[in-house]
């Protein structure tokens, strides 16, 4: 399995704070890699640094072997990286359709892809011409993900998609993400919900204080309760 994304010795400073302190990680092609860790560990900063929203102060980031750490965010997006931020960041004043029109950057939306998206996000079809600001939290998350997959992407960076959602909606969202995974997407996903992480992840990276403290198979971590407690201060049983 080839590595699509590779970070080597990445440091990121935000103001006078040294957030990422030498991150080394790889994201294999066609797999879902979960990025776990306590609040403030540097997970979101990692995604934003990959996306170029914050620039790495040192280290290397390469996508398909191409160095991207000094590239601007739009250029990184144009290399095929889709980003679903923690805040969802749908354009509230725009309709669902307009949000997706913008996401389909260089060409009209592909009808087949749109139908595929509607297949597991039916709300988007129904509220096609409604303002995105009037959608519920779960529907906004659907729109945010749909925006990232309306065009083929090499890599999806997804930041806590289940955050703040009701349990029933989380279950539906997991099913949607599984469907995306089945289509062969390569995903690096930050998640606090360990149950969701176990359901979706092939690999896992655990962060603490700006460094990767554990890497391995998701199934292995899910099966090792003492390790979960040591790394994350929790056990899977508490999330079931």
């Amino acid at each position: 399995m080839t590595d699509l994304l590779k970070l080597s010795g990445v440091h990121t400073h935000i103001g006078r704070y040294h957030i990422l302190q030498g991150i080394d990680l790889t994201v294999p092609q066609g797999q879902v890699t979960m990025l776990l860790g306590r609040n403030g560990a540097g997970k979101t900063t990692t995604l934003r640094t990959i996306m170029g929203l914050w620039h790495a102060s040192s280290g290397e980031i390469s996508l398909s072997g191409e160095r991207i750490e000094s590239r601007a965010t739009p250029d990184i997006a144009r290399l095929g990286v889709g980003y679903v931020p923690e805040s969802m960041a749908v354009f509230s004043d725009l309709t669902v359709k307009e949000n997706l029109v913008l996401a389909a950057r260089d060409a009209p939306m592909d009808d087949t892809q749109l139908e595929w998206i509607f297949g597991f996000f039916p709300a988007l079809r129904r509220f096609w011409l409604s303002r995105a600001g009037s959608l519920s939290g779960g529907q906004k998350q659907m729109l945010s993900i749909a925006r990232a997959i309306i065009e083929p992407r090499k890599l999806l960076l997804i930041d806590e998609p289940t955050k703040g959602l009701a349990p029933a909606i989380v279950m539906a969202l997991i099913e949607c993400l599984k469907e995306i995974k089945r289509k062969g997407a390569t995903i690096l996903m930050v998640e606090q919900n360990f149950f969701a992480a176990r359901e979706l992840g092939d690999n896992v990276l655990v962060m603490d204080n700006g460094t990767i403290v554990h890497r391995g198979a998701m199934a292995a971590l899910a099966a090792d309760v003492p390790l979960q407690e040591r790394l994350l201060g929790l056990s899977l049983e508490a999330h079931q």
């Binding site: 960041a89 354009f91 779960g138």
Partner: protein, 336 residues
């Protein structure tokens, strides 16, 4: 099963008509206070014309504020430059301007306005690249840089054209008024109102019917996400900045014709009005800017007629009142 399945209808978005009705209500409330219907109509027409000119000048500034969070205190320079550039065309063709033919007048006026827009827009390109680009995200430095730029522009105009006030008479065919009964409405005010409405409609069409407009609206709301979708928002911002500068130049020509004179510090009186309009309209909102401009002009005209001494503070009082009612302006842009 869940709201993902869209079993429940969305709440209907409320149409926020209160700001639109505000100028109408204000105008109607003035009828008994002013007394004479003809005077009221004249003042209302004057307010609309003045409001449209202010809107043309302010529309670019509100998008610049909203899109890139840039405080451009030098916006007035584009107004003055636009007016001065127009004199370069109008002065040599003074005979055509004073000819009693609408078409001859427009044949000179239109190229003058277009040249003013082109020069102001080009100046906008220079200002954005030289003054604003190095200070993105730094408000205090933006204020210092753009205020400095305004001073340099004013002094350059003095150096090139001299300190004297340059007369800019109205074209002959736009002098005088349309008389309807005992109501007199100045011809130029009708033209200014029509141009303002045309600019407003054009901006609305671009913002709502084109992908470029979608990008601008999205960028005003969340520029970071627009970049994450692969769009180079700084190029977009440069385009908006140049368009806003060009519109300010057009507004400068119209204002100079309205006052029938040009001087380097002509924008001083307008800058405060423009900022009041942008703030009460809601940063980044074209609709709010349009209504705000009409309100500011109404308060200036009605207030100047009823309580002349109040004219000095009337716009500030209006801003205080609007912000007490809606702290983020008449039409707050979501998430800002």
């Amino acid at each position: 099963m869940t709201d993902l399945a869209a079993t429940d209808p969305l709440p209907k978005p409320k149409r926020d008509l209160a700001p639109i009705l505000l100028p109408v209500a204000l105008a109607l409330a003035m009828i008994p206070l002013i007394g004479s219907p003809s005077t009221w109509l004249t003042l209302t027409a004057a307010s609309l014309a003045m409001g449209m000119m202010i809107f043309i000048m302010a529309s670019g500034l509100t998008l610049v504020f909203g899109l890139m969070d840039v405080l451009n205190f030098g916006h007035g320079a584009f107004i003055a430059v636009g007016a001065y550039v127009a004199t370069l065309v109008l002065a040599p063709f003074a005979a055509s301007i004073q000819a009693d033919s609408l078409w001859m007048n427009l044949a000179v006026l239109a190229p003058a306005a277009l040249l003013s827009m082109a020069v102001s827009g080009a100046l906008g390109l220079v200002v954005e690249r030289v003054l604003i680009l190095p200070v993105y995200g730094q408000h205090l430095k933006q204020i210092l840089m753009t205020t400095g730029g305004l001073i340099v522009a004013e002094q350059t105009l003095y150096a090139l054209w001299g300190p004297q006030i340059i007369p800019m008479p109205l074209p002959a065919s736009l002098r005088g008024s349309f008389i309807i009964g005992d109501v007199a409405i100045a011809k130029y005010r009708v033209l200014a109102t029509l141009i303002g409405l045309a600019v407003f409609i054009a901006i609305q069409l671009v913002l709502n019917r084109t992908k470029l407009g979608l990008l601008i609206r999205a960028g005003v709301e969340n520029r970071e996400m627009v970049e994450a979708l692969g769009y180079r928002i700084r190029r977009l911002f440069l385009g908006v900045f140049m368009t806003g500068s060009a519109l300010a130049g057009l507004g400068g020509v119209m204002w100079a014709l309205y006052r029938e004179q040009v001087h380097a510090s002509m924008s001083d009186e307008l800058t405060v009005l423009i900022f009041v309009v942008v703030i009460i309209g809601g940063l980044g909102s074209i609709g709010g800017c349009f209504i705000g401009a009409i309100l500011v002009a109404m308060v200036a005209n009605y207030g100047g007629f009823l309580v002349p001494k109040l004219a000095l503070v009337s716009n500030i009082l209006l801003m205080v009142a609007i912000l007490m009612w809606r702290p983020r302006g008449l039409y707050a842009v979501t998430s800002r």
